[in-house]
């Protein structure tokens, strides 16, 4: 949380990206505390690792100083943020408490997965069996999204490079 606030305040983008990496790592350890080991693995490798590398790559291709903003009405945006936050806080009073085993979320399909997935799938890790088998179509969709994003990045960066090279040859 502190690193997130610091990332908001700092002007040097390199430090911002580094702090974002630390923030991801801290949230990964928070996931371990909350029993989500698989999510913590992914967050540590993808969020803290790959995302930071991508951002550093972008900084090396562009610039790493943020200019002091030319009066972008910080008070107005702060007001909007506080009102939204207060509305959300008010909304939490109707939500079930943290760690309560009687929450409605724990009484739908989750007990079925926990009790029967060993017989039906045969993998002790319930997260893997739900991810790859019960909700396999979601994972297929996810791979499609990643594939589309990869094509997009290639077109945006690779295509532009080739075009500028062609222009150079012509001139």
């Amino acid at each position: 949380m502190v690193t997130a606030v610091a990332a908001v305040r700092l002007r040097d983008l390199f430090a911002v990206v580094m702090l974002f990496g630390i923030y991801s790592l801290v949230s990964a350890s928070l996931f371990v505390v909350m029993d989500a080991v698989d999510v913590a693995f992914t967050e540590a490798s993808v969020g803290a690792g790959v995302a930071t590398v991508f951002m550093l790559g972008t900084l090396s291709l562009t610039t790493h100083r943020e200019k002091t903003p030319i009066a972008r009405k910080p008070l107005l945006s702060l007001l909007v943020v506080i009102i939204t936050g207060a509305a959300l806080m008010y909304g939490t009073y109707d939500i079930p408490h943290y760690g309560d085993a009687n929450d409605p979320i724990h009484h739908h399909v989750a007990p079925h997965y926990l009790e029967d997935s060993m017989e039906e799938i045969g993998i002790p890790n319930v997260v893997s069996s739900v991810l790859a088998s019960y909700r396999g179509y979601d994972t297929l969709g996810e791979t499609t999204v990643v594939f589309t994003a990869a094509i997009g990045v290639l077109i945006l960066i690779g295509g532009a490079r080739r075009r500028s090279k062609r222009d150079d040859e012509r001139s």
Binding site: S27, M34, A36, R72, I95, G99, D100, A101
Partner: protein
Amino acid sequence: MQILGLYNYWIFIVLMMCGFYVVISRGNLVKKLVGLNIFQTSVFILYISMGKITGGTAPILIAGKDVVYSNPVPHVLILTAIVVGIATTSLGLALVVRIHEAYGTIEEDEIHAQSEEESL
């Protein structure tokens, strides 16, 4: 105790508002993407904290023992969300690189000023 049980949602809200503030108040495009990522991670924390049961353990089955497991369904959803999140972030960063090639800056105000000059 009535109110203390909700603290996970408050952490989530504070983090989410940090990200939201960056997105609406900063003009630098990389900074905006970092803000979006903070916003996104706060939503991950919300989901994972909903799946936690007090005294529970990670949902990896242990044969012959009577243990409470935390809910695996939010974990699966968030695994998918993290991967989709990195895909969208990398697409956004590629756009930033292209914008920098075209305009020579990644500050929103300067880009607006340049495109207004062009249209005049």
